[in-house]
Structure formats: structure tokens, C-alpha cells
């Protein structure tokens, strides 16, 4: 089932054109890794799909329906975009955990605030809160943090922080989960635990898009690889096609640099 489709996405910052017509689509349960040198537009693409930026033109479709159309929505306010936002989850490079909340509360905060908008929240406050807690605890168990529920972010290692932030995004059950260089802010010996969690999520058939510099990891975990260069998708295909037998000259140049 086609879940996400990006059509002809353009985005400029002032005079700098960062996205120059990005096209790709993915099926439910698929894992796509986005690779490419810095400045190629990978992060901007993620930020546009997650509505942290508004693309200038182009469309984003979810389940075949237009979620965002640059022609009409490129000035949309955060308020107008909020409901659409919840279809996607985003894991940041530098975690952005909420420092004053413990691990469990970091995961529970957003679902709790959303639940408060339900008309039946007042009547069933206890049941709803219990359910949110149970769900949060289950997700934290999945990322291996059951023993850290009461810890505060400043007491955690980088890898643990990133696992909390993955759990926090999962708690809202996004249709597609995006990762923006999830291991780039980590010490090399800590990247393994994050990659393991992502692999496990892939096995659970969670639809994911991962911007990464870890080529070997991308190859191991992804169904498809997107190579971005100068604001467009220069090459897309299975890991065997893009990484082992690249056709595009720029892909070849990028990969040979990475494996130097």
C-alpha cells in the first residue's frame, strides 16, 4: 500500500534554492534511507515533510490524499497544520528532550495533552491516563529503557537520550517515522544501540525514513535508498542497486568518498 508520496517539492531560503523538485514515494512498512553529502537538501526535505518548514511548491500525499499543497498551504500557520503534523513523527539529531521531565513524562506529555482535548477526558480521566502510561511504559520497554523511567535526561547517556526521543515519537503512533541523522550527535561507541533499535522497529514493520551518514547501516536496514544531490533525488533504488552498483556519476563519487 502506497503510504507517502512527495511530488515535485521546491524550497528556497532567500535566494538559496535547497530543494529543486524532489520526488519519491514509499509503501507502508517500508524503510527508506536518505544519503548524500551535507548541503544536498536531506534535512530540509525532512523538515518540509514534517512541516517545520513550508515547501514553496509541490505536494505531499498521504494514503493517496493531498496532505500539503505548496500552492495553497505554503503560508499555512502552525495551527492549521497541527492535525496533519500528527501523521508523522520526527527524531532529531540532538534529541531535544524536555529536560525538566523524567523519561516517562517525556514520553507521556504529548499524548496526555492530546487526550485532554477529547470530549470524554473528564469522565474517564483515570482510565485514559492509565492507558497512556501503560503504552508509554511498553514503548520504553521496547527501546530497552524500563529501568530508566524515573531518570531525568541529564542523567542519561547520549544513546539513552536518543532512545527516549524515539519512544517519545512512537507514543503518538505516527504513520511514518522520520529520523534526522539519529546517530550524528553520538559518540561512535553509542551509535550501535540506536541502530539496533531502528533495526528492531524495521522488523516490526514500522514505516521509516532515515537520513543518515552510516552507509553500512543504511544498506542493512533499508528496503530502498535515496541518494540526494543538489536538491534532487539523484538516484533511488534497492541498496544493491544504489550502493553496490550505482549508475549516477554523483552517487559513485559520493560513495567512493565515503568508503575512502
Amino acid at each position: 500500500m502506497r503510504i507517502l508520496e512527495v511530488q515535485d517539492l521546491y524550497k528556497s531560503f532567500g535566494k538559496t534554492e535547497v530543494l529543486k523538485g524532489v520526488n519519491f514515494s514509499m509503501d507502508e512498512g517500508e524503510v527508506i534511507s536518505v544519503i548524500g553529502s551535507s548541503g544536498s537538501g536531506k534535512t530540509t526535505l525532512l523538515r518540509c515533510i514534517n512541516f517545520l518548514e513550508r515547501a514553496d511548491t509541490g505536494k505531499i500525499l498521504l494514503d493517496g490524499e493531498v496532505l500539503f499543497d505548496g500552492d495553497s498551504d505554503n503560508k499555512a500557520s502552525a495551527k492549521e497544520i497541527r492535525a496533519k503534523q500528527l501523521n508523522f513523527g520526527l527524531v532529531f539529531q540532538d534529541f531535544n528532550l524536555f529536560p525538566q521531565y523524567n523519561v516517562l513524562d517525556n514520553v507521556m506529555l504529548a499524548p496526555t495533552l492530546l487526550a485532554k482535548e477529547r470530549p470524554d477526558f473528564k469522565e474517564n480521566k483515570k482510565e485514559i491516563t492509565d492507558e497512556i502510561r501503560k503504552n508509554a511504559e511498553a514503548i520504553l520497554a521496547r527501546v530497552g529503557l524500563s529501568d530508566k523511567l524515573e531518570s531525568y535526561p541529564c542523567q542519561l547517556s547520549g544513546g539513552q537520550k536518543q532512545r527516549v526521543s524515539i519512544a517519545r515519537a512512537l507514543a503518538l503512533r505516527p504513520r511514518v517515522l522520520f529520523f534526522d541523522e539519529p546517530t550524528s550527535a553520538l559518540d561512535p561507541e553509542l551509535t550501535g544501540e540506536i541502530l539496533k533499535v531502528i533495526k528492531q522497529l524495521a522488523a516490526e514493520k514500522i514505516t521509516m525514513v532515515i537520513v543518515t551518514h552510516e552507509i553500512d547501516f543504511a544498506k542493512a536496514v533499508s528496503d530502498k535508498i535515496i541518494f540526494m544531490s543538489e536538491g534532487i533525488v539523484a538516484e533511488m533504488g534497492t541498496p544493491e542497486e544504489v550502493i553496490d552498483n550505482p549508475k549516477n556519476e554523483r552517487t559513485k563519487a559520493f560513495l567512493s568518498k565515503m568508503f575512502e
Binding site: 495533552l113 535526561p153 517519545r168
Partner: protein, 206 residues
């Protein structure tokens, strides 16, 4: 009037000023961070005027200007003093809040946004408490200054402690005037202890 009664007046000015100027300062800080320029410039001009003129002068203006300009004299000197103090301190607090709010990373707001929070939820549930932690020290500075500034109310004849003590000097007694310092010292000592315990309580996160 005894010194103790006089200091009670200082205490009331202090408490009421604090209760009103902190929330007002937060609102003013929103104004000075607005993207809408007219409001931003209006707010910043207001803060410039209030911070750029002496509090003593502001007390006179609040006390006498309404009567002279609009023929509605202020009946209660205490009310006039409170209005002047609240406006003055709100302006200072607003700048502290503004700095605190600006110091929170964009990533916190973005994390809130992708988690489906509204701007208000992001501010009140996530950002504000981090701001509070960062501004405890500058706020405590202002609060301690406020304790001492309350004695300025005497310029519009509000019977605060120094004004009470001055009456004793007319009877030839100078010591009561000196001993007012003890009241300020002890009270500020208590505040200092209170603020350092707040700082410790907020130490659990970074």
C-alpha cells in the same frame, strides 16, 4: 508610628508589587518579542522610558499627573505608590523574561511542534519552567533591590519605615533611623536563603 508598623508598609508594597509585576512583566516580554512590529516598538519604547527615568520621578508622576492633567486626583497615596512600583518592576522583569525566553533553543519548540502541541502548550508546559530555572539569579537580584526601593514611597508621603524613623530624629533621636537598616538586612537575608533553596530545588535538571 513604630518602626515595625512602618516596615509593615514596606512589606505590603513589596508583596503586592511582586505579585502584580511578575505576571505583568511576562506579558510585556511577549509584547517585546512580537513579530508584529508596531506592538514590539511600542513595548520597547515603554520599557525604555520606564527603565530610563528614576523611580522616584515616576512616583511623583503617578501621584500628581492624573490630578493635574485629567482632574482625577489619586486619593490613596498607597495606590499611587503601588502603581508606580508595579509598572517600574514589570519593565525590568520583562527584560529578564525576554532574555530567558530567547535563551531556550529552537529545538525545544520544534520538538513540541512535531509532537502536535500548540504554541501555548509548548510555552507553558515545556519552555516556561526552563526559563524560570535560568532567570532565578537575575530575578532574585531585582527582588532584593525592590525591598530597598520600597522606602522610596516616602517621597509621596507613604509612611514607610524610613519616614517613621525620621520623625524620631525630630525628637533628637538618631538611632531609630540607623536601625531601619537592620529590618532591611534581616528581610533580605531571608529572601537570599529562600532564593538559594529555589535554585537548589531546580538543580535536578540541566
Amino acid at each position: 508610628m513604630s518602626l515595625f508598623e512602618g516596615f509593615y508598609t514596606n512589606f505590603i508594597i513589596f508583596v503586592l508589587t511582586l505579585l502584580m509585576s511578575l505576571p505583568l512583566g511576562l506579558i510585556i516580554s511577549f509584547g517585546s518579542r512580537m513579530k508584529f512590529k508596531p506592538i514590539r516598538w511600542l513595548t520597547r519604547t515603554f520599557v525604555w522610558i520606564i527603565r530610563g527615568t528614576p523611580l522616584m520621578l515616576q512616583l511623583f508622576v503617578v501621584m500628581y499627573a492624573p490630578g493635574i492633567l485629567f482632574d482625577i486626583p489619586i486619593r490613596s497615596r498607597m495606590t499611587a505608590a503601588l502603581i508606580a512600583f508595579v509598572i517600574n518592576y514589570a519593565a525590568y522583569f520583562s527584560e529578564i523574561f525576554r532574555g530567558g525566553i530567547d535563551s531556550i533553543s529552537k529545538g525545544q519548540y520544534e520538538a513540541c511542534q512535531v509532537l502536535g502541541m500548540t504554541k501555548a502548550q509548548a510555552f507553558f508546559k515545556v519552555v516556561l519552567f526552563q526559563v524560570v530555572k535560568r532567570i532565578v539569579a537575575p530575578i532574585s537580584n531585582e527582588v532584593i533591590t525592590l525591598v530597598k526601593d520600597t522606602s522610596l514611597a516616602r517621597v509621596i508621603s507613604v509612611a514607610e519605615i524610613i519616614m517613621c524613623a525620621e520623625r524620631f530624629t525630630k525628637q533628637g533621636l538618631i538611632w531609630p533611623l540607623f536601625s531601619t537598616g537592620l529590618y532591611f538586612l534581616v528581610f533580605n537575608g531571608l529572601l537570599t536563603i529562600m532564593f538559594s533553596s529555589i535554585e537548589k530545588k531546580l538543580d535536578y535538571f540541566e
